[in-house]
Subunit: 397 residues, 2 copies
């Protein structure tokens, strides 16, 4: 790994994370230039090395969450392993973890002990409900949290079935909130000289993303589920095209006027429909949407992409992943990055939404299990080759 | 507003944002203790003051995104208005905005000009695709980005209909990425003494949250949509209970054994099903899921919540917002906060997922339009009462 140059250069992070949430935090800190040392279980590592998507027997789950990290192994149960972790804590700025609540305490690395070892270190835990919640000890998987927070119930149409997940944005958001908290705590440490403990609850993050659903339900008792059409604007929603679905948001008067420049249907050109509130009237709403759909069915999604762009109406094809991976937008900026995966060659991964005028972010492929044992235990902790060999032979690393 | 005490105390932010993404960034910086001045259009303000959810004629959209801010008004088209903005830029640390690309330039406040006015200021823009993308000028609404990034297509079951939205996590994530970038740029400024420009694209954020979908499709051409059952684990997914749906993830051998302690069905107790891979075999997969569902139908969702908790199996009721707002977890920590809304009284809003051992976060209700004109233009910029009155009379504030 080349010298780190991002805005977090000089910050050392221990990433004890598994799965998605905590590794996303570690990877983001690494994208920003921190030295991130992923501390993994000897002989096995993060479970994601063995689960999820594989192609030709090669795992793609771990590499997605763990670029820009070094990997060291530790036997968390052996005294020698714990001594290594203690030394790493002494020399680091941040420790992040998402074991089940209580696990770090059982290993002898609860916040009080960690704070005693290194008072300047910031420690962050991610779990389902957070300390102080009556459900603190319940597990915090993405889909379980979607179910328990009301998100799974809302993220469907009024009539449609619920689904288990889709993209794992609940895990990812938990990692992002933790990143924000770590950066804020680093700023505080600059003046206080002291580390502190961060405790991110996925449940809190879910409620945050429920946004106006919460105050509106609090005051009205109504759950405003979404459907294929928007109740506040007409025409607005999903419409069938010649070859699939498109979205079109032309409910504001100015946008509706622009839409009319490409739609001939005389019904739509009735002057009374120039008024937003008239279009929402129950006797017109469905008829207008139906007329717009008849027009949209005359052309393909790709054609509507171009037309909406030209007339300045928000809308376009509902793209599937194949469309997305063929789009030039996917290869602009750092929207995606190509990284080497042994056995597969260059693979396209998500890039980063972090985009600065004066920072050059670097992307190093995810490490093999224990790839940096010698570098970290030898170089950073100063152990001799013999000592490292001894730790290996004893199963401590 | 009382004295700011969070980790960002002393940082002044100009929030020119509208809708959800940028205001979420400003609010988060405010939650962390920054002084956030929301700069709004004279006489109208953020569109969210007039749209979205209302109860008894009182708007709930704006207050959800804009706590912990001061509000000042500016006529962005008048010279006197622009002079005020220039003075605010001179005295601030951060400026965030999500106008359509090019708008700030047209107003005379593109990055180059802003940087000239105050070289230490960090400026962040949020838009759909970002500078350098072929679609830079296309609009970036949440549901439009869900459609164009493949998320809308993936966030449904294989058979189910697509929906326009659900929760607005795409907007929220864009605000969160911008918050991370601003905090990183503040850290850089501590050593460089210089501000820089941040340009967050919602498209990049969407691709980031597609996670393993991208490398897996890149290497296999397969889109792995989710359904009501998990293809990698059995039993795992959604099941009908006596009164609705529950989720149950008991696909790992240890978890399946625990599940069997509360299910009598002799079919499930067949010793060969103790093996994970056997349960996934096509000839057993559906039968096992069906047998589990028969057992789950015997009890209610609330009963399964308790049972899953007791036996340590990840699972529970698919809660609707009513269940969530009755849950004690919703009132622990800062998962929700109660804030005064004129005309309604105390309203429950989402709180913050930012949770620190040594920080006391404060929550001040969203401001009225221009509520802090006197405080900011008089106190901060040093204008006299007469000058402020003159600006008011001329329609500049």
């Amino acid at each position: 790994m080349s010298a780190n140059i991002g805005p977090l250069a000089g910050i050392r992070v221990l990433d004890l994370g598994r799965h998605i949430s905590c590794p996303t935090c570690g990877m983001t800190l690494g994208d920003l230039g921190a030295e991130v040392i992923k501390v993994e279980k000897t002989g096995w590592g993060d479970d994601t090395r063995h689960s999820g998507e594989h192609v030709n027997g090669v795992n793609l789950y771990y590499p997605t969450e763990n670029r820009n990290k070094k990997s060291v192994t530790i036997n968390f149960r052996s005294e020698a392993g714990k001594e290594l972790l203690r030394k790493l804590i002494e020399t680091s700025d941040v420790l992040i973890e998402n074991f089940r609540p209580g696990t770090m305490e059982k290993m002898g690395f609860g916040w009080e002990e960690v704070h005693r070892i290194n008072p300047q270190l910031i420690m962050a835990s991610i779990n389902g409900y957070g300390e102080g919640s009556p459900y603190y000890l319940r597990p915090g998987f993405d889909s379980i949290m979607a179910a328990s927070s009301g998100i799974m119930d809302i993220n469907r149409s009024e009539a449609g079935p619920r689904i288990t997940g889709g993209i794992w944005f609940i895990d990812i958001m938990a990692g992002m909130w933790t990143t924000i908290a770590v950066l804020a705590a680093l700023r505080r440490r600059d003046t206080s000289g002291k580390g502190q403990y961060i405790d991110t609850a996925m449940y809190d993050s879910c409620l945050f993303s429920l946004n106006t659903f919460i105050p509106f339900f609090d005051q009205s008792g109504i759950i405003t589920r979404n459907s294929t059409k928007n109740a506040y604007d007409c025409p607005a929603g999903l419409f069938k095209s010649k070859d699939g679905l498109v979205i079109c948001l032309a409910g504001q008067d100015g946008l509706f006027n622009r839409l009319l420049t490409v739609m001939d249907d005389p019904f739509l050109h009735d002057p009374k429909f120039k008024d937003h509130d008239t279009r929402l009237m129950p006797e017109y709403y469905d008829l207008i949407n139906a007329a717009v759909e008849r027009e949209i069915q005359k052309k393909t999604g790709d054609e509507w992409d171009e037309i909406f762009d030209q007339i300045g109406v928000p809308g376009g094809k509902i793209k599937d992943l194949g469309d997305v991976m063929r789009s030039p937008a996917t290869y602009a900026r750092n929207a995606t990055v190509k990284l080497e995966v042994p056995g597969l060659g260059l693979v396209t991964f998500p890039g980063t939404p972090l985009h600065f005028s004066d920072e050059e972010l670097q992307f190093t492929p995810a490490p093999d299990l224990g790839e940096h044992n010698e570098e970290v235990y030898g170089g950073l902790l100063g152990l001799s080759e013999e000592e490292i060999q001894h730790l290996k032979d004893a199963g401590d690393i």
